[in-house]
């Protein structure tokens, strides 16, 4: 039976090439955009390297200080002082990776400007996060304490700054007229891992704002628990600590959250201090996908109706020889699924091409988008739904055709 459906589906596709082109173009383009969007979302929500301990980590990125009566509000990253003075005293926090927001400096090589993004970190940053060291090692407490001008650089920076040099350990890299001794080189981090990507990492004691004793600053942190079970306890202890923070003059409320990884992204994208933004992100994403699928689906429904009605004689014959309405609905849905499957395969190849072009363009540093199993799974589900939705209505309408009228058409 399926073989027969397959034969006829292919024959129908060959029959009206322009319709087939329009259908396949619509399906494959829609799927390509959705697949690339899924790959982007996947990379954003599952960036992997170097943050492999997400299951036992909490992320602290911003603080809001409000005057609820007057409606004033200050919002920013946090100070190093906040983490060192308050968070490091929490009993449930096993280790803490503190890093500053990325700043830029200019280096000049052969009269060519090289922009180097750098961030300051503490020593435990290298213990909490699993950077792959290609050579050398990270700085530790001693270098931090002595405020040594040492740097860990990325592979990309090494290649851009030192060219073909085999080993760069002990060499100096100059940024904003300061010479830093390179002590380690790490593999590039994808730009999607916003808090961890950088061209150069420096001891926080070199930062001008490390002595700032206000709550607000330019740092964020990853709080690591001993096990995943520690995470709820860590969150509770963190919230209790925030509630006891001294409130600066002119303000009456402090908001600061320690969130799981995905929640921290949702809060950054669509939330605020009171709402984690997950519902909003899911709703916006859902509406986007729905609208994006709805338009080509409606187009496909129309094309399918035209195509199916052209086959009314065949429908009449099938019914006359014993096909029930249900069997015909099934046949036309299967045929439509075959069409969308072909569109899906083209879509996968187009997506691979687009992903390759995005990666090649290096628009987002070391992004390395991939078509992994998750993306492929979602693509196949989308493809299946697309075929089903766009096939059901035309198939249902066609199955209601009167046999005699169908044969006369």
């Amino acid at each position: 039976m399926l073989k027969n459906y397959f034969k006829i589906a292919l024959a129908v596709l060959k029959r009206r090439k322009f319709f087939t082109f329009i259908s396949l173009f619509g399906i494959s383009l829609t799927l390509t955009i959705l697949m690339v969007a899924t790959a982007l979302a996947d990379k954003m929500f599952n960036p992997g390297y170097p943050d492999y301990n997400q299951h036992r980590s909490l992320y602290v990125e911003r603080i809001e200080i409000k005057n609820t009566k007057e409606g004033w509000m200050n919002m920013s990253n946090l100070s190093f002082y906040f983490f060192e003075h308050y968070v490091s005293r929490l009993k449930t926090v096993y280790k803490m990776a503190i890093s500053s927001a990325q700043k830029s400096s200019n280096a000049y090589l052969n009269n060519k400007k090289l922009v180097i993004g750098y961030k300051y970190t503490n020593a435990d940053y290298w213990n909490v996060l699993s950077y792959r060291f290609l050579e050398g090692k990270p700085y530790g407490e001693r270098e931090i304490k002595n405020a040594e001008q040492v740097a860990v650089i990325s592979k990309k920076t090494k290649e851009a700054y030192f060219g073909d040099e085999k080993s760069v350990i002990g060499l100096y890299i100059s940024a904003d007229n300061i010479n830093y001794r390179v002590i380690g080189v790490v593999d590039n981090v994808s730009g999607a891992a916003r808090n961890f990507t950088g061209d150069m990492y420096l001891p926080y004691t070199l930062a001008k704002d490390s002595k700032n004793t206000e709550l607000m600053g330019s740092y964020n942190a990853v709080l690591l628990g001993r096990t995943a079970d520690d995470v709820p306890r860590m969150k509770k202890e963190f919230t209790q600590m925030v509630n006891k923070l001294p409130i600066p003059p002119d303000f009456d409320k402090i908001y600061c959250n320690a969130d799981g990884f995905k929640t921290s992204i949702a809060r950054r994208m669509a939330g605020d201090s009171n709402s984690n933004g997950i519902t909003k992100v899911i709703a916006i994403g859902g509406i986007f996908v729905l609208l994006f699928l709805l338009l080509p689906t409606m187009n496909l429904v129309n094309i399918n109706i035209t195509r199916i009605m052209e086959r009314s004689s065949e429908i009449g014959v099938r019914k006359a020889f014993g096909a029930s309405s249900k069997t015909l609905v099934y046949q036309f849905i299967v045929e439509n699924l075959i069409l969308t499957f072909i569109g899906g395969v083209i879509g996968v190849f187009l997506s691979l091409l687009v992903i390759y072009l995005i990666n090649e363009s290096d628009y987002i540093s070391s992004f390395n988008l991939t078509m992994n199993l998750t993306v492929l799974f979602f693509s196949l589900i989308t493809c299946f739904l697309f075929g089903l939705i766009s096939g059901v209505y035309p198939a249902w309408r066609m199955s209601k055709l009167n046999i005699v009228k169908a044969l006369k058409a």
Binding site: N4, K7, I8, V317, A320, F321, G322, S324, N402, I403
Partner: protein, 221 residues
């Protein structure tokens, strides 16, 4: 085999009501070869469609093989058509996208028969109509007579008890028409298949067991 009692068919539009079939009573015995004649628009095809359960009468009862089919669900009706009835149309109604063999297999798709069984039965049916050398051809590669023979093979492949033929020789020249008629006569004689045929051709009608004439929807002979 087929019993029609007071069958009426009325077509209604917003302003006009047309009586296409007027109180037809007809008994067709098992193994009978009956032809229906009459001028164009007299209701021959409508009557055949009602017998073939392709159309519903406005009034009256219809029994096939002693079963009252008016209470049948869509699925049961489809199964009944599949098992008991075979159709031959004037314009063949073959599916041009499918090869001859696939066209003939079509009724068997709606039964629980395996691909192997389907192929064997379809090949056998095509042998009966002398087209065993055209299995892989497409309908558009065949002559009118050959196409009608494929349509006959499709009608008989499921071994139905009744064949309903709507002007099967209408689009063919006399030689081809005679060939097709021979096949139908042999089918009736050798396999005992009940055949009801609508025709305009007096000479073809006289080759059948009984002739029914219609005029303006009523039976006149």
């Amino acid at each position: 085999m087929i019993r029609l009692k007071n069958i009426e068919k009325v077509y209604r539009t917003a302003t006009v009501e047309t009586l296409a079939i007027n109180r037809i009573n007809l008994d067709i015995a098992r193994g009978e070869f009956l032809s229906i004649m009459g001028p164009s628009g007299c209701g021959k095809s409508t009557l055949l469609n009602i017998m073939g359960l392709l159309d519903e009468p406005s009034k009256g009862d219809i029994k096939i093989d002693d079963q009252d089919i008016r209470s049948f669900s869509d699925k049961k009706l489809a199964n009944f058509r599949n098992e008991k009835l075979g159709f031959i149309f004037q314009s063949y109604h073959l599916i041009n996208d499918l090869q001859v063999l696939d066209n003939v297999e079509l009724p068997l798709l709606y039964r629980n028969s395996s691909a192997k069984e389907r192929k064997a039965l379809a090949t056998e049916a095509l042998e009966k109509v002398g087209l065993s050398n055209r299995l892989k051809h497409f309908p558009t590669q065949l002559s009118g007579g050959q196409r009608q023979r494929v349509a006959i093979a499709r009608a008989i492949v499921g071994r139905p008890q009744i064949i309903l033929a709507d002007e099967p020789t209408g689009n063919l020249d006399s030689a081809m028409g005679n060939e097709i008629m021979e096949i139908l006569i042999n089918l009736n004689k050798n396999e005992g298949t009940t055949i009801v045929m609508v025709t305009h051709d007096e000479s073809m009608a006289h080759k059948t067991h009984r002739l029914v004439r219609l005029f303006d929807g009523s039976q006149v002979q």
